[in-house]
């Protein structure tokens, strides 16, 4: 079920109304579990069984880890990690691994034709696997006690606002919220609705209507493009993916607030980042902190010397790229970000903290360099293969002076205007948050903005396009 569908509107109204009408906290939690499984099963009912089996296994493994001592604790954790990652590996990387295995054999002269596995990717598997995995990892790390309630853990993993496209909510962040029943607070509920409106506006109006068409046409064009169109296509995609994914996260946070739950921010104005470490503190925060806490730090983080820390960064970003999709283009995207981070760390080590680096003009310049480099990496993220990525890069750097121009002036204006206001908003709000901004704004402006966003959503109607991150 998509947030931008009529089914969800009706579903959400029914769930919220029933939820706040019930007095018993246990009954409310049962309702949320049922609603979450209906929400997930509405895509493909059999996959709800897969979701439950993963969850139940981790619930049991969590208890084993807590009970066990020393080596056997580690063994149970390895069991949990293997179970989760093999599930992810089979559904998401099965065909990719077979194709690469075939390629490797061909290099040494062995012709092998693997069967193409007709595997349907369960929607959101990358997200709920991480929700579930965080539970056993945190119990192993000693920061979380295993819950005694299977129902609570099932709800923590499958809570419908964040189930299929994040934010990646750790069990340790969610389970404590199931201790006491939240109270209905009018401000919190309305703020949740406003966030849902903002999220849908970002997705339906800005991502799908203003930017997606141009990005799709540019990346889908089979011929050479002039530099202007190539750059605009990439800039359009940079905006599209931000509004699409941040829109989903904002909707998820809003929907959770309407039910009395608190999810952390997943985006903090990432295109105003100054440097790549800053970018990853602002973009898909739930994934970057997950990778930091469960991969980068266990690998030694930056406590193991400069070279090893650089290797750790590259490993983390390589796996982060692969998490997004089973294709080498995603790996290159991850490796590019890994290299950016290494270069940034090296530059910091060489230059150190100088007074001039605090100058606003320098910050702005570094911010735009960061944005440009991030856009370059998006080429590999969006292109379905290296031929397209190479053609795009050649176009962007003037390799096709006589290439085609395919964007209408209207599309160019849309990309320019939306990107300008997006950058303006990111830079204006980079040191604060939406809540502060809304509190500071005049009431009439908040009212007008909310009404305009709602009207634009109705006007756009939406064609229930899936969110980009569903495929991950």
């Amino acid at each position: 079920m998509l947030f931008n569908s009529l089914t969800f509107v009706v579903f959400f109204v029914v769930v919220v109304t029933t939820y706040w009408s019930i007095h018993s906290w246990i009954a409310r939690k049962n309702l949320l579990v049922t609603a979450s499984y209906i929400f997930y099963g509405a895509w493909n009912p059999p996959f709800a069984a897969l979701l439950f089996s993963t969850t139940a296994m981790d619930f049991w493994l969590g208890r084993q880890i807590a009970k066990a001592k020393d080596q056997s604790r580690r063994a149970w954790l390895v069991g949990s990690v293997c179970m989760n990652l093999s599930m992810l590996g089979f559904f998401k990387y099965g065909n990719f691994l077979l194709e690469n295995f075939q390629w490797l054999l061909a290099r040494i002269g062995i012709i092998y034709q693997p069967p193409h596995l007709d595997i349907l990717l369960p929607v959101g598997i990358s997200f709920y696997t991480f929700h579930s995995l965080s539970y056993t990892l945190d119990i192993y790390r000693g920061v979380l006690q295993p819950t005694r309630s299977l129902r609570d853990f099932v709800l923590a993993v499958s809570f419908f606002p964040q189930l299929v496209a994040g934010p990646i909510v750790r069990a340790g962040d969610f389970l404590p919220q199931l201790v006491t029943a939240p109270r209905l607070r009018i401000g919190q509920f309305m703020w949740g609705l406003l966030l849902m409106t903002l999220g849908l506006f970002e997705k339906i109006v800005l991502a799908d209507t203003m930017l997606a068409g141009s990005a799709d046409r540019i990346f889908g064009y089979a011929g050479p493009l002039v530099a202007l169109d190539s750059w605009l296509g990439v800039i359009a995609f940079a905006g599209q993916i931000f509004f699409d994914f941040a829109g989903y996260s904002t909707c998820a946070i809003g929907a959770a607030l309407c039910l009395g739950f608190h999810l952390k921010d997943n985006f903090r104005f990432p295109y105003a980042a100054i440097g790549f470490s800053d970018f990853w503190r602002r973009w898909h925060i739930s994934l970057s902190t997950f990778l930091r806490d469960y991969l980068y730090i266990p690998l030694g983080g930056n406590r193991v010397g400069w070279t090893r820390a650089a290797i750790n960064l590259v490993i983390v970003m390589f796996l982060g790229g692969l998490w997004h999709g089973a294709a080498w283009t995603f790996v290159v995207w991850g490796l590019l970000h890994g290299s950016y981070l290494v270069i940034e760390h090296a530059s910091r080590a060489l230059i150190g903290e100088r007074a001039w680096t605090g100058n606003f003009a320098v910050k702005l310049l570094l911010g735009f360099v960061t944005y440009g480099a991030v856009c370059l990496a998006w080429v590999f993220f969006r292109a379905s293969d290296f031929t397209i990525a190479t053609r795009m890069l050649r176009g962007m750097f003037g390799g096709h002076p006589h290439g085609d121009a395919i964007l209408a002036t209207r599309e160019m204006l849309q990309i320019g205007i939306v990107t300008f206001f997006m950058m303006l908003a990111h830079w204006s709000l980079r040191e604060t948050n939406v809540e502060t901004a809304v509190t500071r704004l005049p009431r009439w402006l908040v009212t007008t903005a909310w009404a305009l966003m709602a009207c634009a959503i109705i006007l756009t109607q939406g064609t229930s396009n899936a969110f980009i991150y569903f495929q991950f």
Binding site: M1, L2, S5, L6, T7, V10, G41, A42, W43, L144, Q145, P146, T147, R148, G172, D173, L175, P176, L178, V179, I186, G187, Q188, M190, V205, T209, G213, A222, G223, P224, H262, K264, D265, H402, D404, A405, I406, L407, A408, T409, R410, N433, E435, T436, V438, T439, R440, R443, V446, T447, W450, A451, A454, C455, A456, I458, L459, T460, Q461, S464
Partner: protein, 386 residues
Amino acid sequence: MPSSTSNFKRILQLPRLFFRKPTEAESVHGGPPLEFERPIPQIPWRGITVVVVVVVIAAACAWEFYCRSIGYGPTLNDNEDLWTMTRQRVKPESVVIIGDSRGWFDLDLDELQKGLGKRPVQLAMGGGCGYPVLADLADDKTFHGTIICSFVPRLFFAPPGTPPMERGEKAVRRSHTQTPAQHVSEYLAMPLEEHVAFLKQEELTLDDLLKRLPIPNRPGARVPPRGPPYFGTLDRERRARMIEECARPGSELQKRIQQIWLPLFTPPPPPSYIPTDVFMAKMKDAIEKRARDTIAAVKKLRARGGKVIFVRLPVTGGLKALEDKTTPRNQTWDPLLKGTGAPGIYFEDFPELATFNCPEWSHLSAGDSVEFSKRLVPHLRAALGM
């Protein structure tokens, strides 16, 4: 006196979460109570919400009145989910209409039911290529009914990757992969679309309104031509009917659509990055492959008792001249019938079918479609051996 900033600091506590050892009671639920809370802006929410709701309802009503005042009426949107719901009505022995918008507008289901004894299932689609649907029905082993395929050469032979082909493929794909949520969404959308005029996905959306802005393009920019504006309605059986304004002789809407068909039906220039001769050879290969695939699909259907009949429905005015020039009958229609061995009805071959006028050159008016279908029935019966 505290500054406004310090007030904000108090109101908007930064998110934080930390762990302490849970009590025995708390450990049942996995940990201590939450210490992370999202900040909530302290503003008069009730008043703001009431104003927003009133403004949005008023704006939606005003937009609805405006849309109706300029000629729009409520109609269903033709999307993949509606198509899928119609596809699910196909029974093993159904009569099915496939192809393009002429099959959609020109064939009246009531008249065909009277003449053929079965109510046809309407699977033709606006701007769509009929081949993916033909192939899907040929692959459906339970189906052995009758297919009436509307044939417009430029659409039927549209190469893979072009909008007509993609439209057909998307619809077929959706019919195999539709999720329960998509099915329910369509059920919920239909009553709304039947009563609200502005709910038109291909005409009154923000995207379409932006496309109407008179902004000139760069010289030489390869921008795809625009599709026609709203000129028909659709019911739950996917029967399309031309609106009166379009059928009214000499109406502005009619003239506007006529001028839109011409660039849409004009072959686009070869891409700049492929030599013309190579491109033309590729196109020829694609058309030949489509012909071969069509022959195979028809054969497959016939092998289990199914029937296929191709129909060339009326086209008039400048569009007819353009189609005759760019896709002449002897290079498209004749080889198709010869290759498939299927019967065909070409409107020009029969005086009683050739006298109809298409108001916007491509489709019959709602009234004419009834009369046309009545006259078509005897030919269909003869071709099907009934």
